[in-house]
């Protein structure tokens, strides 16, 4: 099976699995597990293929680019597909233990569609195809968020739906303007022409605003905390870890290849938004009284870090690009692990108010250590992947001489330590409820594996960066 034929398979396999999941009356659990592990195998195959060639391309249906759709995969998309592929089976394992019957069937279908959209987005070669996969991702995420069924979950997912559609439409308007100016939508042909186009700047502004709204970055993050906090654990893990990363990946592609990191002031603006996001949302996370809200705000704060890394790429080059990727990868793993672990504690305690958290550390030691390990990565403590990302970000900030950014990064790290230990501290004390429900071991092991891999990635920094290659 040649490398280029791998790309369509990466999209078709999860989509087929998803449709099958919705249609088949029984067997959703094994199907979910089987398809997601298959997807991981495909991701690993893609990484192998890429290790040799460096770039893999496939034009769908043999049509050449101006008309046909091209699928392209380079270092960054391979890394992201690999991470998403690695997280999916663990979430599937958790879901197969957490859900049953109809709910498991819906989750299986929707999650695999979500995964297919994600894969499609990472390898899409042209702007419109990116729009379609982005929209598919958004809709499946909204449906997943509404899976919980409670009034709060429904209200939050409606807000999420409206926000994500608005973002997509703004992005589509930008695509339309670009198409009017150039007559083509293919990323490769557009690369580097952005700034010179008539109306290119307006298109850029609209697309970036749309993407920032979909990625819930600081000023436009209002819809994320309620949506993620009211969703069930595997869903909020998938949303926080993967769904909000796709728009940022798109922003990187758009700004670095199509617009070639053109305007320095845009970099400053994005850095400012990112820094404000880090500080404000970390502070909000410290103030939260509900564990899931705390973790949701931590997501928005970490997105601020990613935006910082993104903003530094034109000036600092490889260091910032490496920081972006490592921070993204370790955040995916750590946040998924953290949400699952907090989900376990909440399911055990019956609610997720922080001060009421029983001494679960005695009954759920694995989840408590999962929180600790994920916290290590989120705080950027040395052994973890988060530290590698933070280290490269610091190097980039020092190289470009932005000392206020260095201060923001460190203060962000301290605030992260405050809310992580607020979480850990509460699992150390409090009264104990003997009759609480016992949890299937699988759920705890899934959380612990994710959190441990977030720390383990710290030792894989070198191979990841080699796979990543240079700045696109």
């Amino acid at each position: 099976m040649s490398a280029s034929s791998l790309l369509p398979l990466l999209v078709l396999w999860p989509l087929a699995g998803g449709l099958l999941g919705l249609l088949l009356p029984r067997g959703a659990g094994p199907l979910l597990l089987g398809v997601s592990t298959g997807n991981l195998a495909l991701a690993v195959a893609l990484v192998d293929a890429l290790a040799g060639a460096g770039k893999v391309a496939h034009s769908v249906g043999g049509w050449s680019t101006p008309l046909g759709i091209a699928l392209r995969a380079d270092g960054l998309s391979a890394v992201l597909i690999l991470v998403a592929g690695a997280v999916a089976p663990l979430l599937a394992l958790y879901a197969s233990a957490a859900y049953a019957g109809r709910e498991l069937r819906y989750f299986a279908g929707l999650f695999l569609l979500f995964l297919g959209a994600l894969n499609g987005l990472f390898i899409a070669g042209d702007l419109f195809n990116l729009y379609v996969t982005l929209e598919l991702l958004g809709l499946s995420a909204v449906a997943l968020a509404a899976l919980g069924g409670g009034a709060a979950a429904l209200a939050a997912s409606l807000r999420y739906l409206l926000a994500t559609i608005t973002g997509s439409l703004a992005y589509l308007l930008g695509v339309a303007l670009l198409y009017r100016a150039t007559g083509t939508l293919d990323l490769l042909q557009l690369s580097g022409q952005g700034p010179a186009l008539p109306g290119g700047a307006v298109a850029f502004a609209l697309m970036v605003a749309g993407l920032l709204l979909k990625a819930a970055v600081f000023p436009l993050h209002f819809w994320l905390p309620p949506a993620h906090a009211n969703a069930s654990p595997p869903v909020s893990a998938a949303l926080s870890a993967l769904a909000v990363k796709a728009p940022l990946y798109l922003l990187l592609r758009l700004w670095l290849s199509t617009y070639d990191g053109a305007w320095p002031l845009v970099a400053e603006l994005l850095a400012a938004i990112g820094a404000a996001g880090v500080l404000w949302c970390s502070l909000q996370a410290v103030l939260q009284r509900r564990a899931k809200l705390l973790v949701a705000y931590s997501t928005v704060a970490q997105l601020g870090y990613l935006l910082l890394a993104l903003a530094l790429v034109p000036a600092a080059g490889a260091a910032a690009y490496g920081a972006f990727t490592l921070l993204l990868v370790s955040h995916v793993l750590a946040k998924a692990g953290l949400f699952l672990a907090v989900g376990n504690l909440a399911r055990r305690a019956g609610h997720d108010r922080l001060d009421g958290f029983e001494r679960v550390v005695q009954h759920l030691p694995l989840s408590a250590s999962a929180i600790a390990l994920a916290g290590v990565s989120l705080m950027g403590m040395p052994p973890s992947g988060g530290f590698n990302g933070k280290w490269l970000l610091l190097q980039a900030a020092i190289a470009t001489g932005d000392w206020w950014l260095v201060a923001v990064i460190l203060v962000g790290g301290l605030l992260a330590a405050v809310y992580i230990f607020k979480l850990i501290e509460h699992t150390f004390g409090g009264s104990d409820r003997p009759d609480a429900t016992a949890l299937p071991r699988r759920m705890e092991w899934a959380a612990l594996t994710l959190a441990a891999s977030a720390v383990g990635v710290g030792f894989l920094g070198q191979p990841l960066l080699r796979l990543l290659g240079g700045v696109p």
């Binding site: 449906a143 409206l162 608005t166 308007l173 009017r180």
Partner: protein
């Protein structure tokens, strides 16, 4: 102003109008409608930009419409579930805008 350019400007105006409606509307149904109008305004801009015999915008707009329909269906379903059987099921007033 060639025909196409004025359609494009009309589309942009419609986009701003529906965006304003989205902000002002309080009831979620009006918001959903505003989003639909916004969608069609974007498609209008798309079509206005196309050359005489260029098939691509048509294909893209059809896909866009399909996506818009799917999104509206999901929105309406959520709305119905929210309006839902029992009146007290509605979220508390504090939850703004949903």
């Amino acid at each position: 102003m060639t025909g196409q350019a004025c359609y494009a400007v009309l589309g942009a105006l419609l986009f701003c109008l529906s965006f304003h409606a989205l902000i002002i509307a309080v009831h979620p149904l009006r918001r959903l409608l505003a989003v639909n109008v916004m969608g069609s305004s974007v498609f209008l801009v798309f079509i206005a930009g196309a050359g005489p015999r260029d098939p691509l915008p048509q294909a893209l707009v059809i896909t866009g419409i399909v996506v818009a329909v799917a999104a509206t269906a999901l929105g309406l379903n959520l709305l119905l579930r929210l309006a839902g059987p029992a009146e007290d099921d509605r979220p508390s007033a504090g939850q703004d805008g949903s």
